[in-house]
């Protein structure tokens, strides 16, 4: 027990100390080099720990995955695009893909939208911390617990029986019959129910980040706007919102990627049944249940390709940003 705590303390103090020493060390090392060379070498030294870790933990497995997607299950022979052919030919996979599009659009829209609204509104009330805590709290709950909470919310009992689910009780109070929310496939209602769960959890995420950016806006700018006679909505639209756009892009991009990777909620609540499946769950099943590494890897590669457009968009934004700076 003691050994464990000591190790942890060393890690918390020692590693940052080592990193700080490393950065300081790089300056000393750079002194060897001529003045002109320093700014060219320095960035790489600063990024080295990060790039090293990223290379090891993310790039290396991803390369392995890409290779595996072109091989058979046991990795003994190359099968070209056969695994991708399976993916695009499988109804289950295409249904999952369609669901991911829904996730992508609506999860991002809702979390960024609500996050923005909440961040801007609670900034003006005295009970700001309380309000933020309530919105943030769901994110602090593990996925398993969130699944349990919403299974209670969505619970269904046959018509005529006492409804134990919050939603069905509310619907019942309005006079309508109980609905098996997670089982209704028409119009992807059950998928939307799952998206709602994730929105409930992740709005706090968007809110915290947008709020941090909001606090960073120089109040003098806003005062200047008001002094010029602008009302609150004009101040928001003309000054605050444009300044928040980069942050919104960060939150939006992160949420899009989160939506593509959505797994836990679907896994815990429906297992992907009745047309709620998503790509990440499909990949998990192929990899850990069925043992089809080639196919699982192909799914992962499809995920990777799906974000390429978003990445191009981000590059464009950085270039624009830098031109202004």
């Amino acid at each position: 027990m003691e050994e464990r705590i000591i190790t942890a303390i060393i890690a918390v103090i020692g590693v940052p100390a080592v990193l700080v020493a490393y950065i300081w060390g790089t300056e000393q090392v750079l002194r060897i080099f001529p003045e002109g060379l320093k700014p060219r070498l320095r960035p790489w030294l600063w990024m080295a720990p990060a790039l090293g870790l990223l290379g090891l933990f993310l790039v290396y497995p991803m390369v392995g995955t890409i290779i595996a997607s072109l091989q058979n299950t046991t990795g003994t022979e190359w099968v070209g695009l056969e695994n991708f052919g399976w993916f695009f030919g499988s109804n289950d996979a295409l249904s999952a893909l369609k669901n991911n599009v829904l996730w992508l659009i609506f999860l991002t829209l809702f979390t960024v939208g609500f996050g923005l609204i909440v961040a801007v509104l609670v900034d003006r009330v005295r009970y700001e911390t309380a309000a933020k805590s309530v919105i943030f709290l769901p994110l602090a709950i593990s996925m398993v617990a969130a699944g349990v909470i919403w299974l209670y919310m969505y619970q269904y009992k046959p018509p005529g029986a006492v409804q134990t689910g919050t939603l069905n009780a509310a619907v019942g109070a309005l006079g309508a019959g109980p609905i098996p929310w997670l089982q209704v496939q028409d119009f992807s209602v059950n998928t939307f129910m799952l998206i709602i769960v994730m929105t409930w959890m992740w709005t706090g995420f968007g809110m915290v980040i947008i709020s941090a950016a909001l606090k960073g806006i120089n109040p003098e700018l806003l005062e200047a706007g008001r002094v010029d006679g602008a009302n609150e909505w004009q101040v928001f639209r003309g000054i605050i919102f444009p300044l928040l756009v980069p942050t919104l892009v960060v939150v939006g991009t992160t949420m899009i990627i989160t939506a593509l990777k959505a797994f836990d909620i679907v896994y815990t609540m429906t297992g992907g049944n009745l047309e709620t499946d998503v790509i990440a769950n499909l990949m998990y099943k192929q990899m850990f249940r069925v043992g089809e590494f080639g196919r699982a890897s192909a799914v992962a590669v499809v995920l990777l390709l799906a974000i390429v457009p978003i990445m191009f968009f981000n590059i464009g934004r950085f270039r624009a940003q830098e031109a202004v700076r």
Binding site: W46, L53, L58, I135, V162, A213, I257, M283, L304, R319
Partner: protein
Amino acid sequence: MTAAATPIAEARPRVRRFGRLRSGGIGLHTVVIVLMVIWAVPTVGLLINSVRPGQEAASSGWWTAIFPPYQFTFENYAHVLEQSNIGTNFLNSLIISIPATVIPIFVAAFAAYAFSWMEFPGRNVLFVVVVGLLVVPLQATLIPILKLFAGWGIAGTFLAVWLAHTGYGLPFAIYLLRNFMGSLPREVFESAAIDGASPVTAFFRLAIPMSVPALAALAIFQFLFVWNDLLVALIYIGAVRPDNLPLTVSIAGLVTSIGGGTEFLGAAAFLSMLLPLIVFFALQRYFVRGIVGGSVKG
């Protein structure tokens, strides 16, 4: 441009950002309260169900418990706390989460600063690749990394999960920090350079203090994700050192192999979320101070 660079040392008073509008109209309060209620309802439902006997929770909605007869009980919480190894697992969670939060922040801060304020060819493309790594599915990395860990002999140790969580957390951390650091006022760094400060000094004495809100946000999220993680710990530690497993495993274990026991998950969730909430509250003050004197530029 009225954006004067405010010296960092001058602690800003808690500025009521919107001045006389702080009180807000009735419409504003209504919207905020309604949102709060909607968000709180599911959690309140779980909280109430967690203090009811399992059978009751299964047979009637949680709102019925607000009226007499009252049948509250702490037996669910007691059951969770009686789990064998829960104390050890809680301690393990701390031991895993704290370093796994602190380390990525440092590593990402250095890299983010380089991406923001140092020029080098291919900067944007490299950055976008780093951000793109956000999409790498966790499950795809488990087996290759486990093989590596096994080869190095660290499978089952805390070091393994610290490294892993750092690696997994870096893309988002770098993305967030770079965005924030990149929007800091250029003038501050320029005048520091003119004064002869080295990049290291500029980093520690200017960039970091001005990025505190972003660092605080990052700390909250990274801690949260690591604290609530189950799969990474299970795969990298589970097979060979079961006594190093974190709290999440204990909580998942409340549901038995056949699927019973879900009534305890509510109580477990509330016990488990206490610490992340404490972290959230503790770091809240970093969101209030007007640290950045200059504007957040677009």
